[in-house]
């Protein structure tokens, strides 16, 4: 590892202890149906039976390629789905079902208990308002006095790593660099003192040096402030450095989930193995991975049986007809592959 951050992937023991605690968020059998293109009669099941838990103070990484349903899953958690979307399954927040909660209850949760940050911080900020005004909005709405709001805003910006927060608070978004904007958005997310932060590709648009600082901040929010996180990313390296638990998605379904260290080192799904092998090392030269054939399947034209079968090196007749049910193959590690045992016979070292 070239970065100075200690790897969370190594903390399997800690992760196991955390999983014994009651979960903040339990996702079980989550389904999201969207109306087909141009409002046609075809309904597309973009999220198909997704289950995972988010224990307190734990980061769960949602990894996948385009069309995997990772962003749609995260958006469903916070109720940010497009018009006409139908959801099914269960989303339990501290034990209470969110999907059947009243709109008022869901609004109350959003921003306060569950906050979200996105890939493009500029799109999340209002260009005509100062940073202070936007970070303090949720505090003002709760009726706090102005000077207290101001003090808290500066604390939050400082916590998010904005240098000289008392002065920078009065800047406008365009006066901030990309990294600072993402810090401002993180400060805004923290304003409601959430227990869970949903982060959708939070560092994808940033340069590597900025990315590593933002990841370090996210890690310290978890370690020092006890924040739980759902981190959506296409980049296995980002997930490996922040998440204790990893959920690998393919074509709207979970291919595999479990402790990050196990998922990376003993993948229980051929798709995960291919993803791991496709990540090049930086300091040493790695051969270009044997590529998977074809392109990622999408929920709109999901192959029969196991959605991964047309690209899978292990696929056989059964995979074309029978959708593998997700099953526990090792402690806490779940796979949706009929033949996962064949993969686990050998230990794979990533990169």
């Amino acid at each position: 590892m070239t970065t100075r951050m200690p790897s969370h992937a190594g903390r399997t023991e800690a992760a196991r202890q955390v999983t014994r605690q009651p979960s903040l968020l339990e996702v079980s059998g989550l389904v999201v149906d969207l109306p087909g293109p141009s409002g046609g009669p075809e309904i597309v099941r973009v999220v198909d039976g997704v289950s995972f838990d988010v224990p307190a103070a734990t980061t769960v990484g949602l990894i996948g390629e385009s069309g995997s349903g990772k962003t749609m899953t995260a958006n469903a958690l916070i109720g940010l789905l497009p018009d006409g979307a139908e959801t099914g399954g269960e989303l339990r927040w501290r034990g209470a079902d969110l999907l059947t909660a009243t709109p008022a209850r869901r609004r109350a949760l959003r921003g306060h208990e569950i906050a979200m940050i996105f890939q493009d911080p500029l799109a999340a900020l209002n260009p005509t308002q100062t940073i202070a005004r936007q970070v303090g909005e949720i505090l003002r709405r709760s009726g706090r006095p102005r000077d207290e709001v101001r003090r808290r805003v500066i604390e939050l910006l400082d916590r998010a790593g904005v240098p000289d927060p008392a002065t920078r608070a009065d800047s406008y978004p365009h006066e901030f660099s990309g990294g600072l904007r993402q810090r401002a958005v993180i400060a805004m997310a923290l304003a409601g003192s959430p227990a869970l932060l949903l982060a959708d590709e939070p560092t994808t648009a940033l340069d590597v040096t900025v990315q590593s600082r933002i990841l370090r901040l996210l890690r310290s929010l978890q370690d020092d402030d006890g924040l739980a996180m759902v981190l959506v990313s296409h980049d296995l390296r980002v997930v490996a450095h922040v998440a204790q638990q990893t959920v690998v998605m393919y074509a709207g379904r979970v291919a595999e989930r479990g402790p990050t260290n196990e998922v990376l080192h003993r993948p229980a799904h051929p798709y995960t193995r291919a993803l791991v092998q496709s990540v090049p090392a930086v300091r040493t030269r790695t051969a270009i991975a044997s590529p998977l054939p074809g392109t990622p399947a999408t929920p709109a034209n999901r192959p029969s049986g196991c959605a991964f079968h047309p690209r899978c090196p292990l696929a056989r007749e059964r995979c074309k007809v029978e959708q593998p049910l997700i099953r526990e193959i090792a402690a806490g590690q779940w796979t949706a592959c009929h033949y996962a045992e064949e993969l686990q016979g050998v230990r794979h070292d990533p990169a």
Binding site: M1, T2, T3, E65, R237, S278, R283, R285, P296, A351
Partner: protein, 254 residues
């Protein structure tokens, strides 16, 4: 021996307040050599690429191909246009959405008649598509009907149709899904050998550059800060900026 020789290149933008994007960059690419150009956003790596293919006019400096100094686009000899081809980051926006794949390729052959096949054009087109791993049926399709990876293969086929000597790839695999990235990288490496291509490979992803480049040049704020064999630059970086880039780069395995 040098195929491409960039000498003391300087490019700036803006009229009143000049922003110097490239500040005295010299870079050489030998025949059949791949040079990786890395750096963060705003480092000027894309501007170097655009100057090489003639899309921006340098303030000063020279771009020399095979000993011939190249002017800006429009003043370049056709042979120079042909010899240097570019593959862009976003495969969709670099293809005309209204043109079929066949007409995209045909346009190259009409622009550079020397590259046009002597015999059966359809057979030549199918051979070219096969070269980049596309089915012949793709010829009748338009970019909107193709996946991102397929579009990037079409862009590569378009570049190859001109029978270039140097391929300039600007973040050519960055927008692709990781499982598709490996396919396109592998394709580029195969084609490089088959067609004896030199490559200027620009990317922010150090790992990908390490897989494909013989030599690597590192840019920061318009300047070249370090250059050398890939294994040296990424294995034992000398410049403090390269070191900080490497320190920030995430590895999957600690």
């Amino acid at each position: 021996m040098t195929l491409l020789d960039v000498r003391d290149l300087r490019v700036s933008f803006g009229r009143r307040t000049k922003v110097v994007a490239v500040d005295g960059v010299s870079l050489a690419v030998a025949p059949e050599e791949t040079v990786g150009l890395v750096g963060e956003s705003g480092s000027g790596k894309t501007t170097v690429a655009r100057a090489v293919v003639g899309l921006v006019r340098p303030d000063s400096g020279a771009i020399v191909l095979d000993g011939q100094p190249l002017g800006r686009i429009g003043r370049r000899p056709a042979v120079a246009h042909r010899a240097v081809q570019m593959v862009f980051q976003d495969p969709r926006s670099s293809l005309n959405p209204r043109m079929t794949v066949a007409s995209v390729i045909d346009e190259v052959w009409r622009t550079h008649p020397v590259t046009a096949p002597d015999g059966d054009r359809t057979a030549a087109l199918h051979r070219l598509l096969d070269d980049v791993g596309l089915d012949a049926s793709v010829a009748r399709q338009r970019p909107g009907e193709l996946s991102g990876g397929q579009c990037q293969r079409v862009s590569i086929a378009r570049a190859l149709a001109a029978k270039p000597r140097l391929l300039v790839c600007d973040e050519a695999v960055s927008a692709l899904d990781v499982s598709v990235q490996a396919q396109v990288l592998r394709l580029l490496v195969d084609l490089r050998e088959k067609h004896h291509l030199a490559m200027l490979f620009i990317s922010h992803d150090l790992g990908v550059v390490h897989q494909i480049a013989d030599r690597i040049a590192v840019m920061r704020r318009g300047e070249l800060v370090e250059e050398g064999p890939a294994a040296d630059v990424l294995g034992a970086p000398q410049h403090e900026y390269t070191q900080s880039l490497l320190e920030a780069a995430l590895e999957l395995n600690e």
